[in-house]
């Protein structure tokens, strides 16, 4: 169902938005609510719209209950939990006609703050909690938990599921468990006694979440780094990437402690800035460890000089860019895909970097592992670009799986035994004619020593200012870029439709594109689809471009960066490409895509 349309009675197809104040503990109440749907077997998508602030500013959390399993924002609000007086007016206006708004009726509400075409439900949450709980802090916290009870009654959520979830969360804190249970019952009972429960929207138990988890992309990325065998993580805290290292730290403390000595099989360094974080990653990568740094746009800017060094001196490194709204500080708690160009050509001089674009947390896990393999195989920095939407929101994904027979690809590394047998070793010789030279780890063998430099060097690794020698090296690097195409993941391609109109998209747009295609197919518009998963673009991308006459490029930035990259790096006729751009900082929804494509097609018909 598309937004703008009047909302009506529906099972497992509605969106709840909770408007609250930052720092009041609403996150755990919202998570509890979302998990409850998930545990009833109903697919959900959670989106957190939070301010760059610790306490006091407005914050919204949105739960889309979606029996069809769509992963993106619906763009519509059916049920608003208006817990923030400051934003009440806007929240009221945002409810779709036919929807409902729940507010805290402890305080009187101005009579103008109502709408006829929606149902308004007042629950004296603060009053009930003030009577029940003693301390100011617990009154604020429990008010949030109480609304979970209200919603549970109104939507017919299974209270057993909620109780189980609470038991799990507070397994070791019995007093908190009791208080939370009391608060939930307060809300639940009040709603049952005062309103016709359930509403026209109901949560109906389903079986669509079996074999799935709810996980955020940063956690999945961190898990990927653990499974890839990364041992050195250097970073500078920056939203929205910070939780990558938080999660990596916590996984390492669980799974990377040497049993005998109690010592760490990892080293995590909080650097003084992103320049330093990047330097540490290069130092560790050069020295034979798998090393990475999570960051966001401003960090990429600071890392750029060393990224160019890594490219030219051919040092493996993995960067995770959890993109946020730029430019400059921009809107650090809002999402965007606006670092594509900055990452593709980061640094001065002729540089190009291998990029990976996961679409969801599941892909974050697998592509993080891939990033390390590619970095070592190709001896170059690899940047995995996610974004705030993927990184910080909980997504429903298929269970993560690991093949225990998997062996990581360390690329062309000469061991001490190899070196012993060799006459001599030269770092930048193209021995195998694939433009990838051999490398050695410091300390392995006297014959393995070489000098790493960002200044001009010849194929033997020696300093040079000779044009011919310089060209031999940089031209080989260009050939290595061609070799990279054999190793990077192929795009996800769907040629289901017979016509010659298609969509190319990237990363977190995927969910919205899938949903939009379903709607468009319903109205007779079938579109093929290619989602790029890596840069350099492989032949499959060129084939798709060649096979279509009109291609919508859907991405989340103002300047059409994926579009530009396709123009630069493929042989596509520019006339065929049409940009559909979303860059307001909110996760992309299907609505805009459907409308834009309909409008564009109507234009075509009119012409």
């Amino acid at each position: 169902m598309l937004p703008g349309m009047i909302t009506g009675p529906r099972d497992n197809d509605f969106t709840i938005r909770i408007a609250n104040v930052n720092g009041t503990g609403s996150a755990s109440a919202n998570a509890l609510l979302m998990k409850s749907f998930f545990r009833m077997g109903i697919p959900v998508a959670g989106k957190n719209y939070f301010p760059s602030n610790i306490q006091g500013l407005p914050t919204w959390y949105e739960i889309r209950v979606t029996g069809e399993g769509y992963l993106t924002r619906s763009g519509r609000v059916d049920i608003m939990l208006a817990m923030n007086a400051e934003t009440y007016k806007k929240d009221l206006a945002d409810v779709a006609p036919g929807g409902c708004l729940i507010y805290d009726s402890t305080w009187p509400r101005h009579k103008l703050l109502a709408r006829d075409e929606i149902t308004i439900i007042g629950v004296p949450l603060a009053k009930m909690c003030n009577e029940k709980f003693d301390t100011a802090r617990s009154r604020v916290l429990m008010k949030n938990v109480a609304y979970v009870g209200v919603v549970a009654a109104l939507l017919n959520i299974d209270m057993e599921v909620i109780r189980d979830s609470l038991n799990q969360v507070f397994a070791k804190k019995a007093n908190l468990l009791d208080a939370n249970q009391v608060a939930i019952d307060l809300g639940y009972n009040y709603a049952q006694e005062n309103f016709d429960c359930p509403l026209s929207y109901t949560a109906r138990p389903s079986d669509k979440t079996a074999g799935h988890i709810m996980i955020d992309g940063n956690t999945a990325t961190a898990l990927g780094c653990v499974y890839a065998g990364a041992t050195v993580g250097a970073w500078y805290p920056i939203t929205p990437s910070t939780s990558v290292m938080d999660a990596f730290t916590s996984f390492c403390h669980q799974y990377r402690i040497d049993e005998e000595s109690g010592r760490h099989k990892f080293c995590i360094i909080q650097a003084e800035d992103e320049l330093s974080a990047m330097g540490m990653v290069l130092g560790a990568g050069w020295n034979g460890a798998r090393a990475f740094t999570p960051t966001s746009g401003p960090g990429i800017s600071l890392m750029s000089e060393l990224l160019g060094y890594g490219y030219f001196a051919e040092i493996p490194a993995v960067l995770i860019d959890v993109q946020r709204c730029g430019p400059s500080t921009g809107m650090p708690t809002r999402t965007q895909q606006a670092d594509i160009m900055a990452c593709a050509y980061a640094s001065h001089g002729d540089t190009r970097h291998v990029l990976l674009f996961p679409a969801n947390p599941e892909e974050c896990f697998y592509l993080a592992v891939k990033a390390f393999d590619l970095a070592e195989r190709l001896q170059t920095p690899v940047i995995m670009l996610t974004d705030l939407d993927i990184g910080m929101n909980d997504w429903m994904c298929r269970d993560l799986k690991w093949d225990d027979s998997y062996q990581i690809d360390r690329g062309k590394v000469l061991t001490a035994e190899d070196l012993e047998k060799m006459e001599s070793f030269h770092r930048y010789l193209d021995v195998d004619d694939d433009a990838i030279p051999y490398r050695t780890f410091p300390g392995e063998h006297p014959k393995g020593a070489y000098f790493t430099r960002g200044s001009g060097h010849n194929m033997y690794g020696a300093y040079t200012e000779d044009s011919h020698e310089y060209l031999e090296v940089v031209d080989r690097l260009r050939r290595k870029w061609e070799t990279a195409k054999q190793y990077v993941p192929e795009p996800v391609v769907d040629y289901a439709e017979k016509n010659r109109v298609g969509i190319i998209s990237i990363g977190s747009c995927d969910g919205a594109v899938i949903e939009a295609r379903d709607h468009l197919r319903g109205s007779g518009v079938g579109l093929n689809y290619l989602r790029v998963k890596a840069f350099p673009f492989t032949d499959r991308v060129q084939e798709f471009l060649d096979a279509h006459d009109r291609i919508y490029i859907i991405e989340q930035n103002r300047d059409a960066q994926l579009h530009s990259l396709l123009l630069i790096e493929t042989r596509v006729n520019p006339e065929k490409l049409i940009s559909l751009l979303y860059y307001d900082g909110l996760p992309i929804s299907a609505t805009g895509i459907v409308e834009s494509i309909h409008a564009d097609m109507a234009k075509g018909v009119a012409a």
Partner: protein, 351 residues
């Protein structure tokens, strides 16, 4: 001085160290610095120190930033692994390298521009982390490769070649390092190999971040009258406060020292440094008094040199981070991947 190739001929009677290597085995490529550059003297002191310490060349990593000083790792220890990084970022690269493998010896060579201007932050933070490395600053008060601008170590009133006087106060890397908690801080002069070589040896053996600020005059841009970093000025104002002798492990202290004037300090590997006081009131283990001494003497225009401050009780980065003994870079993948069983059970929390 790069127009001839240095022949690699080793005289059969050249002295050999415990590894049967000669000094020549610790040398590098021909220097491309100006004739008479202080840095070349530092290079030969490093060669001497590494030779005498019996360091297997391939077990040493030599890192640098950008600038004249940072070119020098190409001129010593050709069999060592070199890493000429970008400007001011050597400390972070050395930190990452050390995190990956703490079993190698690390020497970082930097200059006053690379350390005190563009790289000031990284220098401070590598020091705070107590990365196990020797950090040598070849300090000449001037930017050489860009032809003669003042650096942040230029003294007040010191004049440039074009006659302009510097009007900004200098940053003294030694006082700064002491104030930030470094465990090994020394100053020397490129023209005093007798003082410098034992300091380099002690710095290479020291477990943790060792700073040696070496006044190393720039013959082309900062060796004129009016400069406070010239050879003449440095020789005139050179003030050794405390000398350090290095005694290898299992070797007896044979020299005679006067009681009270000499302080032997045992290093982690059993070697010793004997600190010989030139000024009897000097205590290199008392941070506050060292700082005050430096303030007093430097205000009087003296360049205080020697083993200025020593504290061997600090944990270096690997231990501070509680990293396993075996270098992380050599851990087998099977020791690092938790496997599918773990993955399946850990996902319960996400259901």
């Amino acid at each position: 001085m790069s127009y001839i190739t240095k022949p690699r001929v080793i005289h059969p009677k050249s002295p050999r160290n415990d590894l049967k290597l000669t000094v020549r085995d610790y040398e590098g490529g021909m220097s491309t610095l100006c004739a008479g550059c202080g840095h070349d003297s530092v290079t030969s002191a490093i060669v001497q120190a590494a030779f005498e310490l019996n360091i297997p060349p391939h077990r040493m990593a030599k890192l640098s930033g950008i600038g004249c000083s940072s070119k020098t790792p190409a001129y010593f220890m050709r069999q060592s692994h070199g890493f000429n990084t970008v400007h001011g970022r050597m400390p972070s690269v050395a930190t990452g390298a050390n995190a990956a493998n703490g079993s190698l010896k690390y020497i970082g060579v930097s200059g006053d521009g690379d350390t005190l201007s563009i790289g000031l932050g990284q220098f401070c933070h590598a020091l705070r982390r107590n990365v196990d490395m020797l950090y040598v600053i070849e300090n000449n008060g001037v930017y050489g490769l860009t032809k003669g601008q003042f650096s942040a170590s230029a003294d007040l009133g010191s004049t440039a070649k074009n006659g302009f006087a510097n009007n900004q106060p200098p940053i003294d890397p030694c006082r700064m390092a002491i104030s930030m908690g470094a465990g090994f801080v020394a100053r020397s002069f490129s023209g005093d190999k007798e003082q410098l070589v034992p300091l380099l040896k002690a710095g290479l053996v020291h477990k943790g971040f060792a700073v040696i600020d070496v006044i190393s005059p720039c013959v082309t841009f900062n060796d004129h009258e009016g400069s406070t970093k010239s050879y003449a000025y440095t020789r005139q104002h050179f003030h050794p406060a405390i000398q350090a002798d290095y005694v290898p492990p299992s070797q007896e202290i044979v020299a005679q020292y006067n009681e009270g004037d000499a302080m032997p300090v045992e290093m982690h590997d059993g070697s010793k440094i004997i600190l010989r006081k030139v000024d009897t009131d000097y205590d290199p283990t008392d941070r506050a008094s060292v700082y005050a001494y430096l303030e007093r003497h430097q205000a009087a225009g003296e360049i205080v040199t020697g083993m200025l401050y020593y504290n061997d009780s600090l944990l270096e980065m690997q231990d501070l981070s509680n990293i396993v003994e075996q270098p992380l870079s050599t851990l087998d993948y099977s020791q690092l991947c938790p496997g599918d069983d773990v993955l399946q059970s850990l996902q319960d929390r996400y259901r």
